[in-house]
């Protein structure tokens, strides 16, 4: 009797574990023929960007239960920093065709942007959020909204209210043929880079001491503080990583779209946040999954001529999920205690 229970339970768990990969494969398998290869690749790329941004939302929420409203704008600033670095420091005006040069430039671009944005994110945390750690919950949320507005306007001040072009370092002409369609190498590179970063994050969280500290802190801050985890440092690192990823998303955005604007952060930020909610806020794998889902919905909507409604659909999804399934698709660890 007891053994039967055990086996059926472990079979159930196996099924539970497989649910996600099976779902993903099904999802991709269905959307590929519907969207066609061009749009499919497009959706994957956009999804990678959303996923990178969503990770920052979800990590910060997981650890201090703050909807870091300014995070979308951190991503936006990241895209400007990337633009600045590639056009000023690297002196690039268009694409770089010399392969070793290109590799070095892109690597440098990622490294510098991630570093700068990580610092900016940590600075915001230190100045605007840390003093409010014990304040009523609305206070840091309101502050975050304020920070978001300030970031937008600083950028608007320096770069103007119009769309700004960003050098597309990777030549868009380079492509490979997949079943009759042309898939730009750029997309493959962008998707690959994003997935690699997400993978690195997962490894960091599950394998390193700091990653473990982050997880325990998000489960119970007071208890982990008693166990000797340096809370301030852990939260700071969370912001460093989250903002660094947003910076990476900024680089990717610039490489792929070739432009950016001060208003980029608000709507894409909200969409990335929706992605985090969709996946189960606080859950890093969920955030990545959510990012791709949102992108597929958006790209799908415009593929069928409803592009103008894409935003409305995504926000409706946000409302529906928060109301009926606040734990998201994959569930979140931060269950509500009464």
């Amino acid at each position: 009797m007891a053994t039967a229970n055990v086996t059926s339970a472990s079979a159930g768990r196996l099924l539970g574990n497989l649910r996600l990969p099976i779902g993903i494969v099904l999802f991709l398998g269905i959307s590929l023929p519907i969207l066609g290869i061009d749009q499919f690749v497009n959706a994957l790329t956009l999804g990678a960007i959303y996923a990178l941004v969503a990770l920052g939302y979800t990590m910060v929420y997981g650890i201090i239960e703050l909807i870091n409203f300014a995070h979308g704008d951190v991503f936006m600033v990241g895209s400007f920093v990337a633009m600045f670095i590639s056009s000023s420091l690297l002196g690039a005006e268009g694409s770089i065709t010399n392969v070793p040069m290109l590799a070095a430039s892109v690597l440098l671009l990622f490294a510098l942007t991630i570093a700068v944005m990580a610092l900016i994110g940590a600075l915001i945390e230190r100045l605007a959020y840390r003093p409010l750690r014990r304040a009523p919950k609305l206070a840091p949320l309101i502050t975050a909204i304020g920070v978001s507005f300030i970031l937008q306007n600083i950028i608007q001040f320096f770069f103007g209210p119009t769309i700004v072009t960003v050098p597309q370092l990777v030549p868009i002409e380079w492509s490979i043929q997949v079943s009759g369609s042309r898939v730009p190498l750029l997309n493959i590179f962008v998707i690959g880079a994003s997935v690699a970063l997400m993978f690195a994050l997962q490894v960091f969280i599950s394998r390193t001491r700091t990653g473990r500290a982050m997880r325990t802190t998000s489960m119970d801050r007071d208890a982990s503080s008693l166990m000797g985890v340096d809370i301030n440092r852990t939260i700071m690192i969370t912001f460093l990583i989250g903002s660094g990823l947003a910076g990476a998303a900024g680089v990717v955005h610039g490489l792929y779209y070739g432009n950016t604007s001060f208003a980029l952060g608000f709507q894409s930020g909200l969409k990335a946040f929706t992605a985090a909610v969709l996946g189960g806020i606080g859950n890093t794998a969920g955030a990545a999954l959510g990012g791709f889902i949102i992108a597929f919905i958006e790209v799908g909507a415009s593929a069928f001529g409803y592009g103008r409604w894409g935003g409305a659909v995504v926000f409706s999804l946000l409302v529906i999920f928060l109301v009926f399934r606040p734990t998201g698709l994959l569930g979140s660890h931060s269950g509500d205690r009464a």
């Binding site: 206070a139 502050t143 507005f149 608007q156 103008r308 926000f315």
Partner: protein
């Protein structure tokens, strides 16, 4: 019901004591005096040099409209403690209600006065529509849901061309009139000034009455301790819903007035920044303090529309290099951001704190503690 009877002292003690007892009269007299004093003030230097009296009166009217919005939002945030980031949506719905009911676009020309009520009702309906499913959510989730709603409404207005004429918006909206007596025009700002101030007075009186009522107490209780309020027999969802509906209907009414004043509505007038400007007024004035919030709105509005504009002309006149390239009006948004951040960090209770909020924001409120 009488509130805490702090002893009234000072030179005007009898007057103040009188108005404390008759607060509605006090608000009426106060707004009346102010509405006379402000235009007079614009005739003396330095104010007369800035713009014409008519332009000033127009600015005061807009400021009062903005102040009403802030007072309405304060019912939701300050009284009930719910962070509503999509408040501009209700403002938009009020505006479009009137635009559809009285413009060449729809071909319908209903009179203005009943539409005030209609705007309030439309606001309330959408308030309930948004609030009913979401008010069980935790505070920060509610904030983000309302934010989503605040985005959906302008997007819908923009895309539902057939009903709203999309990005162009609806223009040529009818101006109010009192048949046979008075026709409001775009050139003469005074009738609108009068109308808005009467409305302002009414809204303020109503909000103070609500604050002192059974419902106002209920909101206080919920904000302080939701579980305890439920255990005192309060249906918290209904009480919050009422706050939402009241706030939304004020925004709806103000939307109607605003549409009638500027005679055009476009989706762009109701972006997120509008919700945030109202939030900034609430935070600056002091959450929960009606007069404080109205004052906060006046300060922010006059600062951005007069001071920043003045700065523009000043720099232009003196032809200061670099600076004359800058449009200082763009700084109003950064202003909202700075107000929000600085106030939360340095003075969360606002410049005119409500009595109750002083304590709430007292430092170090460590953990809520479990349910014991």
């Amino acid at each position: 019901m009488t509130r805490i009877a702090d002893a009234v002292t000072g030179p005007f003690a009898p007057v103040r004591a009188f108005f404390r007892r008759h607060r509605s009269l006090g608000i009426f007299v106060g707004v009346a005096l102010l509405s006379i004093a402000l235009p007079l003030l614009t005739r003396v230097p330095p104010f007369d040099g800035i713009q014409s009296t008519n332009a000033w009166v127009n600015a005061f009217t807009t400021a009062a409209i903005y102040a009403m919005l802030a007072m309405g939002l304060n019912v939701v945030i300050g009284f009930a403690g719910l962070l509503d980031l999509g408040y501009a949506a209700f403002f938009a719905l009020g505006g479009y209600t009137y635009a559809l009911a009285a413009s060449p676009f729809s071909g319908i020309h209903l009179p203005f006065w009943p539409m005030l009520l209609a705007g309030g009702i439309v606001g309330a309906i959408f308030g309930v529509l948004l609030g009913a499913p979401t008010l069980r959510l935790r505070g920060d989730y509610l904030a983000i849901v309302t934010l989503g709603f605040g985005e959906i409404v302008p997007i819908t207005l923009m895309n539902a061309d057939k009903f709203t004429d999309g990005v162009n918006g609806i223009g040529g909206i009818d101006k109010p009139s009192i048949p046979g007596i008075l026709q409001f025009t775009l050139i003469n700002p005074w009738p609108m000034y009068g109308l808005v101030l009467v409305l302002f007075t009414l809204v303020m009186i109503m909000i103070y009455r609500l604050e002192d009522s059974r419902l106002g107490r209920t909101w206080d209780a919920i904000r302080e301790d939701e579980l305890a309020a439920e255990s005192s027999g309060v249906n918290t969802v209904i009480a919050k819903l009422q706050a939402f509906a009241v706030g939304a209907s004020i925004a709806g009414i103000v939307g109607v007035v605003n549409a009638a004043k500027i005679t055009i509505v476009t989706p762009d007038q109701f972006r997120f920044a509008v919700s945030i400007s109202a939030l900034a007024a609430v935070v600056l004035g002091g959450m929960g303090n009606t007069i404080g919030v109205a004052t906060g709105a006046f300060i922010i509005y006059l600062f951005q529309s007069i001071l920043l504009k003045q700065l523009n002309t000043l720099v232009e006149n003196f032809n200061i290099p670099v600076l004359n390239q800058i449009d200082f009006l763009e700084f109003q948004y950064v202003l909202y951001g700075i107000v929000l951040v600085l106030m939360m960090l340095k003075r969360p209770q606002g410049i005119f704190p409500a009595r109750r909020r002083m304590r709430e924001f007292a430092p170090l409120k460590i953990g809520k503690g479990g349910l014991k």
